[in-house]
């Protein structure tokens, strides 16, 4: 079985973001990057399937600037077999359909049985790339899976709202987008980090793949104005606790 896992590298969401000079994204300098949380579940699911079946080959792919190699290396250390870096310094400004067409163009003649992606990225939150890949490749797709089982055929649980899930059976080839809590992503062990250094990491220039024009334009990128309704308390921890207790006594009936 051939599996493709698509991952994105995103900044730590607790970063202090600065808006870039073009006002269309954040300034990428001085940020700590990691694998998009949803994509870690995608990697883990692929690796668990490889552990379950004898003949599984996992390619992990990321579109982005040079730094995304770090994310790919971690995925290799988690158990993927080979990595593809689609190098694109401008990927931050590409829309979901452009990213998806690069991935679909790369995949079209590779006959992947399962393509795993995250349900969404933490920075863009568009929740589109996986679904669009399936549309472009004309294969089935189940989004937001919270449970995966392989038993000659695939059974997944798709998470809906309010604690409800739908149970779905689907054949390969299929795109599955992964939701939080699908599994517990492993930490790479030192021996696996060493082994990963010998695995193939191939870089392809995005210009070698066909992509479309962007379908939308970012006019502005900004911090929303604070409503002013929230009182921010800062300073010495012990004094903060006293202040908070005073306010709770004044404003609520709980103390």
């Amino acid at each position: 079985m051939k599996i493709l896992v698509c991952i994105k590298q995103v900044p730590d969401m607790e970063s202090k973001f600065k808006v870039n000079a073009q006002n269309n994204w954040f300034d990428e300098n001085d940020l700590a990057y990691r694998i998009n949380e949803y994509d870690e579940y995608a990697i883990e699911q692929a690796v668990q399937l490889k552990e379950q079946l004898s003949d599984v080959d996992i390619t992990v792919l990321s579109v982005g600037p040079n730094r995304v190699k770090e994310a790919l290396k971690k995925a290799l250390a988690m158990g993927c077999d080979r990595a593809i870096h689609i190098e694109d310094e401008e990927s931050y400004i590409k829309d979901s359909s452009q990213i998806a067409s690069l991935i679909a163009d790369f995949s079209k003649d590779k006959e992947f049985d399962i393509i795993f992606t995250g349900m969404q990225s933490q920075d863009r939150g568009s929740a589109q790339v996986g679904v669009i890949i399936s549309e472009l490749l004309n294969i089935a797709c189940v989004s937001t899976i919270a449970d995966f089982e392989y038993n000659d055929s695939i059974t997944v649980k798709r998470e809906l709202e309010g604690g409800l899930k739908s149970i779905i059976k689907v054949d390969t080839p299929v795109v599955l987008t992964c939701q939080l809590g699908l599994n517990t992503p492993r930490y790479p062990t030192l021996p696996n980090i060493m082994k990963a250094k010998k695995k193939e990491l191939l870089t392809i220039d995005s210009l070698e793949l066909s992509s479309t024009d962007s379908l939308n334009e970012t006019l502005n990128f900004y911090y929303p104005e604070k409503s002013g309704a929230c009182l921010i308390l800062e300073g010495d921890t012990s004094e903060l606790a006293d202040k908070l207790i005073t306010i709770l006594k004044e404003k609520t009936s709980v103390l």
């Binding site: 589109q128 937001t144 409800l164 689907v170 939308n216 990128f221 908070l244």
Partner: protein, 303 residues
């Protein structure tokens, strides 16, 4: 601008969020045209046209047939904007419809102004303002971002529609969450542990504060997913919706899906090291502090 709204049903019932779509159309002063895969026994109230396909026949979740059906209505109506709710139904179908139309899709729209759309970014910390470059645009709107319109007068003119295509997935059925062991909806005080609490070993610190208040322990999703706290404590879209007198969010960033479950609390205190954490959008007080230092001191002082 002409809109096509995509309504939502689940388990034989119209979903309430469908009225968010009607409210959105009303805000844009657009004629109201809706397409839905649902049941004639329960149709939304609005003054306009409803293209209704039978969910008994087509299935409540069937992306390939639903996509084709929506595309057929788009061809008939030629709308400029196709509007879904940002829900498990909407985010699954919107990109399929947009790709077929070669149209752009803008996800989780929270605001509309002069032909541009505002969407959240970086876990709701920042906002992006976007303009579509295609003649048709597909959007999903964030539930609760636009005032729902429940009481528009009139009943929709219904046109029944159908389609015969096969599906590439096989819907087996629904699975309901286990009976909840804990009912947080009646709690007067909830102290919630978020991922900022760091690890399972630190949960007793948060539990001690909850106990001191005589309240219940809540959890954000990663805390429940990681099994630091039982899933029945989870607050949010996929957890419980609560409205206590006091909600204390400890190391919770304030993602939309968490806010959806707790923003109706009477008084909200957030404890977070990050002054920009989006939880401040709903909190009355944001204490900028490390929970592991602050919470024990607070618990102590409360006695």
């Amino acid at each position: 601008m002409k809109l096509l709204l995509v309504g939502e049903y689940r388990e034989n019932k119209l979903l309430d969020v469908t009225y968010d779509l009607i409210g959105f159309a009303d805000k844009l002063e657009s004629e109201k045209v809706m397409v839905a895969i649902g049941y004639e026994s329960d149709v939304p109230k609005f003054d306009g046209k409803l293209y209704l396909a039978d969910a008994n026949e087509l299935g409540e979740y069937n992306p390939s047939t639903h996509k084709q059906l929506i595309l057929d209505v788009i061809e008939k109506e030629n709308p400029d904007l196709i509007v879904f709710i940002h829900s498990s139904f909407g985010w699954d179908l919107a990109p399929r419809v947009a790709t077929s139309l070669k149209a752009t899709q803008l996800t989780e729209v929270v605001e509309y102004k002069d032909n541009s759309f505002i969407v959240p970014s970086c876990n709701s910390k920042l906002r992006r303002e976007l303009k579509s470059k295609t003649s048709k645009t597909v959007i999903t709107i964030q539930a609760g971002a636009f005032t729902p319109l429940y009481d528009s007068v009139g009943v929709p003119e219904i046109e029944n529609i159908s389609i015969s295509t096969t599906s590439d997935i096989n819907f087996v059925g629904y699975e309901k969450a286990e009976e909840k062991g804990l009912d947080l909806t009646k709690a007067e005080i909830i102290v919630t542990a978020g991922r900022g609490v760091g690890k399972k070993d630190n949960i007793p610190i948060i539990q001690a504060l909850a106990d001191k208040f005589g309240g219940e322990l809540g959890a954000s999703r990663p805390v429940a997913d990681n099994e630091w706290v039982d899933q029945s404590h989870q607050v949010g879209t996929t957890g419980q919706t609560v409205s206590p007198k006091l909600y204390v969010a400890c190391g919770v960033s304030g993602a939309i899906q968490h806010l959806a479950g707790m923003k109706k609390s009477e008084f909200i205190v957030a404890i977070n090291t990050d002054k920009d954490a989006p939880i401040s959008e709903v909190a009355d007080i944001l204490v900028v502090a490390d929970v592991l230092q602050f919470v024990p001191i607070l618990t102590n002082k409360l006695s």
